[in-house]
């Protein structure tokens, strides 16, 4: 029992370390231009939610969202709320309807990234009435969504390796 708790602690510590590392990539002032569009934290949240139980996934998503809020000029807590809700939804879908396979997880990452981008576009561009906002959405946001979902495949395998340290026995328990 003690060994299981110890393995669980290591697993979640590695999840947190990976999230912090990818957050640093996301906000790095100088990086390769090919990486500048990727929203690194969304795949991490979705993949962890796909493998783990709902409440721990929600707390982890909350942590990732607060990290993201630190770096953006949005209302503090905005990304935390969205990532938490997206993680809960992803966890429910994976528990009840589909298996956590690379393609299904990648699809969920695509949907989550699209939802986040659309909400962003709506609240911070459409509602504020900025001219030229739609062209930015088409030129930059769509490419970011696609890049993020492709990156999700790499994150899937990375997190699957970490998950194997202490896998959940009853995958379909909701509590």
């Amino acid at each position: 029992m003690a060994l299981k708790k110890y393995k669980n602690l290591i697993k979640w510590s590695l999840y947190v370390a990976l999230a912090v590392l990818l957050f640093c990539f996301q906000t790095a002032p100088t990086k390769l231009s090919v990486l500048s569009d990727i929203q690194f934290l969304i795949p991490v949240v979705i993949v962890v939610a796909s493998f783990e139980k709902i409440v721990p996934s929600a707390v982890f998503a909350l942590f990732c969202g607060l990290l993201w809020d630190y770096s953006v000029q949005r209302q503090f807590g905005y990304n935390a709320l969205i990532l938490m809700l997206v993680a809960v939804a992803a966890s429910l879908v994976m528990k009840l309807y589909i298996m956590p396979m690379p393609l299904s997880v990648c699809s969920l990452v695509l949907i989550a990234s699209l939802v986040h981008t659309i909400l962003d576009f709506f609240f911070f561009f459409v509602l504020t009435g900025l001219s030229g906002a739609f062209s930015i959405f088409i030129r930059q946001s769509i490419s970011a969504v696609i890049a993020t979902s492709v990156f999700g495949i790499a994150v899937y395998f990375l997190i699957y390796l970490i998950y194997k340290i202490s896998p959940i026995k009853a995958k379909f328990d909701i509590d």
Partner: protein
């Protein structure tokens, strides 16, 4: 699915949701200064991001040398052409220099701004979402930084502090529509307002708004801050006019401004914590004396 809504997990999620909503409302009430949850997150995360930004600057610079070789070659050719043009202009330099010295003595223009109280800062993070290239610096309220402090480099204006936490601050750049800067052009003595535009910001440009149709400004004119409004000190170079276009309404014109500082590449900035409107005060005193006579 119904079991989920009846179970403890759903109640836990609702509690978390309420907690985050509370944080959002609390932060909204605080305005542009960081609330306690944000300050805690920032204090823990800033040292990590500080280290990672230094690593990424080194690594990114190394890889960019290979990835951007073609761009570097083109820029090299362009710079060589500029240098040859500068050589041609250098013969007039001495003449303008002596004329400038005389004008400076006559108008008492100060070269340096001893009235500036400044704080240097390093860029430690950039907004990954398209938000007009907003970035985070590693100085905050503990260093005396306040909201609306102007941010500059030795080349010119970068932006303004829009959000302050104890150990870090967020800078909104001159490309953002949230920023309105009173400007001045020395050649035509025109004034105006510069504010960002989403479609121009994508190309790294900003907008000089509401110019009259008969404006005397032209491509290449240098735009600097006028000091009007008291937010930005006067005389800080903002950029140069790239082109002048008619607004959609046809009533006025606007100018596309290329900022002198590349806000996407800036790595070190200076935050002006305090500056005096000394020139304005002296002029006001002189006007009062003239009226009195």
């Amino acid at each position: 699915m119904k079991d989920f809504f009846k179970g403890k997990a759903f109640k836990a999620i609702i509690c978390l949701f309420a907690l985050v909503l509370g944080i959002i409302i609390y932060q909204a009430a605080r305005g542009n200064y960081a609330s306690l949850p944000e300050a805690v997150v920032g204090t823990v995360v800033t040292p990590i991001v500080n280290v990672s930004s230094k690593i990424s600057n080194t690594v990114g610079g190394f890889f960019n040398m290979f990835l951007n070789a073609k761009d570097i070659e083109e820029e090299n050719k362009k710079l060589k052409a500029e240098i040859s043009e500068l050589y041609k202009k250098s013969s007039d330099f001495e003449k303008y220099k002596s004329e400038n010295e005389q004008l400076k003595k006559a108008l008492e223009i100060k070269e340096l701004r001893p009235d500036f109280e400044m704080q240097s800062a390093a860029v430690i993070g950039r907004d990954n979402e398209f938000n007009f290239y907003t970035f985070t610096v590693n100085k905050g309220s503990l260093n005396g930084i306040k909201v609306n402090n102007p941010v500059i480099t030795n080349e010119g204006l970068v932006g303004i502090i829009s959000h302050v936490a104890p150990t870090y601050s967020v800078v909104t750049t001159v490309l953002s529509p949230d920023v309105n800067i009173g400007i001045y052009n020395a050649r035509t003595m025109s004034t105006g307002v510069v504010g960002g535009s989403a479609d121009l910001a994508v190309n790294g440009n900003t907008k000089l708004k509401l110019l009259p149709r008969n404006t005397t400004l032209q491509k290449g004119d240098i735009i600097e801050t006028s000091g009007d409004g008291g937010v930005y000190p006067e005389g800080i170079i903002l950029g140069t006019i790239q082109t002048l276009k008619a607004e959609n309404s046809g009533v006025s014109m606007y100018g596309v401004i290329k900022p002198v500082v590349d806000v996407t590449e800036v790595s070190d900035v200076v935050i002006i914590k305090k500056f005096s409107l000394k020139a304005e005060t002296e002029n006001t005193q002189e006007e009062e004396e003239t009226l009195a006579e």
